[in-house]
Amino acid sequence: MDRPIRVLVAKPGLDGHDRGAKVVARALRDAGMEVIYTGLRQTPEQIVNAAIQEDVDCIAVSILSGAHSTLFPKISKLLAAQDASDILFVGGGVIPDDDIPFLKENGCSEIFTPGTPTTVTIDYIKANIKR
């Protein structure tokens, strides 16, 4: 691999809980990845545009407000519309198990729930980026 894996860590919606996003971002960086963190209150459009502009291999979004079933499918749709579905899309946060099948059917590759070690996320991204 010539260049390091590039990841956009994003906070969609209005949720301000960014401890998880920042901890994961730092862990990915320490694992040798290049990480861009969007900060709070990003719309799906902003996230997808940033991902394309930054030419990332993976989008990792974190949400704890319960708006995941609205916002995650939107991100997948926008990625498809921009012909960017090759970007790996993963999510994390307070997401009930029952919601995970729906999110996966709608374009999110994997969901990491509370208590997931950062190493699991790192390994998943390494194994699943498409290049």
Partner: protein, 557 residues
């Protein structure tokens, strides 16, 4: 506290003790080479009078007296128990109103309103950024009409109400005053709290709207307005809770929170308010984590430091200005999604910490909060946990029962010293708002959070059920779900409201608000007028956004 002869004896005894245990430890080493507190501070195996040699009883004094180390009331829970205040709110005002009535029936002594994120960020339910968020983490309030339903049948002269609202606190407080007026309750009789702590929103919680300067002005306007019109209202709840949730240590929680407190007092004094007119209505909000003794020491340290700061730095004369009153919530970030029943035990320990630390009110988290919003059943267990501690544990029978413990007093002093170091550093940086703008405080918290995560992942720190003692588990059942139609209902209500109200009056009130925001007069009276005309939260905050602009977050990892 100890005379020289006694101290010599102690030190002599300690030397012998250490000598004796040394050979034992060589044969049977301890479980760890070093032991750490929950916040990562080294803890010795034994504390003796040698650790509190400088300690003088007058340093902590009597409860209800300066510096309030032992508590803010002379008899604490012998007089009145803490207020069992359960934070609740979801979906529509009708749904939340039902939950409040249930909680009051179950013995909850005060209400605590959770608002959804659009409300907290000053957007109406039909704003594009509100999509998917309406009614999710709290109740959706778009206008006075929703607030009237929220408190329907709840006598506002009888209950005290805490509202977790910050950037638009002025608007929600105005709505509360307007609802009370309709009930025939005058604002002088209202008791409760608005969180109104914008600095920790920039630091840790994220529901800011306006830049620092206009935000501080809104806060001082509220201080001034309430000192005259709502004299029993706690005008701010200066919050360490979210700082700790974001990953800080106990000492950082105290240091950063008190630094924020200093900034608010300075801002109010700068506008010409006399410190003793508003300081008695300042309140605080702390976290309760699992390290029981460290947490108890933390609350004692916070009270002592604040009393000193108010007296010495701000020249407060009224003892009420020096007494740090606080609400506690058990630590959400300590809960695990794995084996959620274990969370009940964690919450019980944290409840003990808050009570032994002298809290004035307490919210206990429910076991399922790492998974979703709590169900009614799990909320009841959380409330019962407080009631068991209150009525069965016996810790309420005497004031500050851990005082005088060598360890507790040494730890209290240590947290005070560490917190003071942070306060001094923040003073050097030009005060809390500057230390937030340049990212210093966020960076310190982030470092601690990352360190904690590493410890959990390497297994140096054990979280029962999560990184040790795991079991195969089935997906949890019966989680609370917010009806997804809430968003549509709120939108329809807004359409109806805009058709029904007198829009010419609304426009006039919003124009008056714009003028007030552009000038320097207190904005509270005009907000109250706008609210009464059924201007929406989004319209009111929209005008303020246009005049004040929006805060830009400093993003660093």
């Amino acid at each position: 506290m100890f005379d020289k002869e006694k101290m010599d004896q102690v030190n002599e005894g300690l030397d012998k003790f250490n000598e004796k245990t040394k050979s034992m430890l060589e044969k049977r080493p301890e479980r760890n080479s070093v032991f750490y507190s929950g916040s990562g501070d080294e803890i010795k195996g034994l504390y003796t009078p040698a650790d509190v040699e400088e300690f003088d009883y007058s340093d902590i004094g009597f409860p209800g007296q300066f510096p309030y180390t032992r508590g803010v009331q002379p008899n604490m829970y012998r007089g009145r128990l803490w207020t069992m205040r359960m934070y609740a709110g979801f979906a529509t005002a009708e749904e939340s109103n039902k939950r409040y009535k249930y909680l009051v029936e179950q013995g909850s002594g005060g209400l605590s309103v959770a608002f959804d994120l659009p409300t907290q960020i000053g957007y109406d339910s039909d704003h594009e950024l509100s999509e998917g968020e309406v009614g999710k983490v709290g109740v959706a309030i778009d206008s006075l009409a929703d607030m009237e339903i929220l408190f329907d049948g709840i006598p506002l002269d009888k209950v005290s109400t805490s509202m977790t609202i910050n950037a638009p606190a002025s608007v929600l407080l105005a709505m509360y005053i307007a609802v009370a007026e309709k009930q025939g309750v005058s604002s002088e009789k209202l008791r409760g709290t608005i969180q109104n702590d914008i600095l920790k929103e920039y630091i840790a919680r994220g529901t800011y709207i306006f830049p620092t300067e206009p935000s501080m002005r809104l806060i001082t306007d509220i201080f001034e307005f309430c000192s005259k019109d709502v004299p029993q209202w706690n005008t701010i709840s200066i919050s360490g809770y979210h700082i700790r949730e974001a990953g800080s240590t106990a000492a950082q929680e105290v240091g950063f929170t008190l630094a924020d407190g200093i900034a608010y007092v300075e801002a109010a004094v700068k506008t010409g308010l006399d410190v003793d007119t508003f300081a008695p209505r300042l309140s605080f909000f702390f976290n309760a984590h699992n390290d029981l003794l460290e947490e108890v020491s933390k609350y004692r340290a916070a009270r002592t430091l604040w009393a000193q700061i108010m007296k010495e730095r701000f020249g407060a004369k009224n003892p009420k200005s020096m007494a740090l009153k606080f609400h506690t919530q058990t630590g959400g970030s300590t809960l695990t999604a794995q084996q959620p029943e274990n969370n009940i035990v964690r919450v019980a320990i944290q409840t003990l910490a808050a009570v032994l630390g002298g809290t004035q009110s307490l919210h206990t988290n429910s076991k399922d909060e790492a998974l979703a919003l709590p169900t009614e059943d799990s909320v009841r267990v959380a409330l019962r946990t407080q009631q068991v501690v209150a009525y069965e544990s016996g810790v309420t029978n005497t004031v500050d029962p851990l005082a005088g413990s060598y360890f507790i007093e040494a730890k209290t002093k240590e947290i005070m010293d560490k917190a003071m170091e942070y306060i001094t550093k923040i003073d050097d940086l030009g005060g809390a708002p500057k230390a937030i703008d340049n990212g210093y405080i966020q960076q310190e918290i982030m470092d601690a959070a990352y360190y904690y995560q590493k410890e959990v992942e390497t297994g140096e720190r054990i979280v029962v059920g999560m990184n040790k003692f795991q079991i195969e588990e089935e997906a949890p059942k019966d989680l609370l779900r917010v009806d997804p139609s809430v968003g549509e209902m709120q939108k329809q209500n807004l359409v109806d409201l805009r058709a029904k109200r007198d829009n010419a009056v609304v426009d006039a009130k919003l124009a008056a608000l714009r003028t007030a925001c552009e000038g320097t007069t207190n904005v509270m009276p005009v907000i109250l007028e706008a609210v009464k005309a059924y201007a929406t939260l989004g319209e009111i905050c929209g005008v303020m956004r246009e005049v004040f602009g929006e805060y830009q977050q400093s993003v660093n990892l």
